[in-house]
Symmetry: C2
Subunit: 166 residues, 2 copies
C-alpha cells in the first residue's frame, strides 16, 4: 500500500527521472518530517489545554526528568531543547511570570543562571505529562506495538550513525 510519500516520490520519478537514484533519502526524511508535523501539532494541543506553550512544556519536562534539585542552567536547557538562546530567555521569562520556574543566581560562576522548577511547576508538569503520554498512546492506538518498537530501534541506529550521542 502507498502512503503520501510514495505518491510524492512517484511524482518526482515521472517529472524528474534524472534524479530517481537520489530519492532514497527522501523516502525516510519526508516521512520523518510528516510524522513530526502530526505529532508536534498534537502535542501542542495537549500542552495548550493546560495553558502551557509547546516550548514551555519542553522546559518543564527537561527540568523534571533531570531529578533533584530540578535545576538546570539556561545553557543546559538551550542544548536540550535545540533552540537558540533568545528562545530560552523568552521561555523562562514567561514561565517565571506564570510561577512555573524561578531564576536562581548563585554559585561561583556569576554568568550562569540556574532555572529551578517550582512546586507549582512540578504539579503542572505532572498533569501535562500524564495527558501527553495518554495522547501518545491514543495516537498509536491503531498501530502495531512491535512496529513502533522496531521503528524506534531503527531510528536510534540512524541517530547514532549521525553522531547524536549524549
Amino acid at each position: 500500500m502507498s502512503d503520501v510519500v510514495d505518491v510524492i516520490v512517484g511524482q518526482w520519478a515521472k517529472e524528474r527521472p534524472d534524479v530517481t537514484d537520489d530519492l532514497w533519502p527522501v523516502q525516510m526524511f519526508a516521512r520523518i518530517q510528516r510524522l513530526a508535523r502530526v505529532v508536534d501539532k498534537s502535542a501542542k494541543d495537549t500542552a495548550a489545554a493546560h495553558g502551557v506553550e509547546h516550548g514551555e512544556f519542553d522546559v518543564l519536562t527537561t527540568l523534571q526528568r533531570s531529578g533533584p534539585p530540578y535545576t538546570l542552567t539556561a545553557g543546559a536547557l538551550l542544548k536540550a531543547s535545540m533552540v537558540t538562546s533568545g528562545a530560552i530567555t523568552n521561555r523562562i521569562d514567561k514561565m517565571e511570570a506564570k510561577g512555573l520556574v524561578e531564576r536562581v543566581r548563585e554559585g561561583t560562576d556569576r554568568r550562569t543562571v540556574k532555572i529551578r522548577l517550582t512546586d507549582h511547576g512540578h504539579d503542572v508538569t505532572r498533569a501535562v505529562f500524564a495527558d501527553h503520554l495518554a495522547n501518545y498512546a491514543r495516537l498509536l492506538a491503531t498501530v502495531d506495538r512491535d512496529l513502533v518498537e522496531r521503528t524506534a530501534e531503527d531510528l536510534r541506529e540512524v541517530l547514532l550513525a549521525l553522531g547524536d550521542t549524549a
Copy 2:
C-alpha cells in the same frame, strides 16, 4: 549503544518509575522529533543559500513535481504543505514578488487562485533541489543504506496505520 533518547527515557524511568510502562511511544516520537529538527535545520540552510525560505522551497517543489502545467490552487498547496491559509498567502505574496510564481485567476470558479511556476521559478527549483538532494546524501554518508531503507519502510507502515493516505 545509547543515543540521547535512551538517556531521556532512562531519566524518566528513574524520576517517574510510575510511568515507565507508558514510555514506549516516546522512544519513537522523540527520535522522530529530534531527526526532524536536524534535517529541517539543514534543509533550511540549503534553501537559504539560494535566497529561498524553507516554506517557499516547499511550494516550489510541490509545484514542480506536480508536472505540467506546473499549476496548483492555493488550497492544494495548503494541504500539501500542512500549514494554514495565512502561511500560504504570505508565501505566495513573497514568491510572486521574487518572480518565482504567478497568480492566475481564470477558469469557471472565480474564488480559486491558481499558482503557476514561472520559468525563473523552474530554474531556481532545479538548482535548490539538486543541492537539497546532495545535502541529504551528505547527511546520510555515514549511515548504512539498508538501515535507511528499512527505516523508511517502517515509517511508511506507521503513517499508513495512522491513516496518512493520499
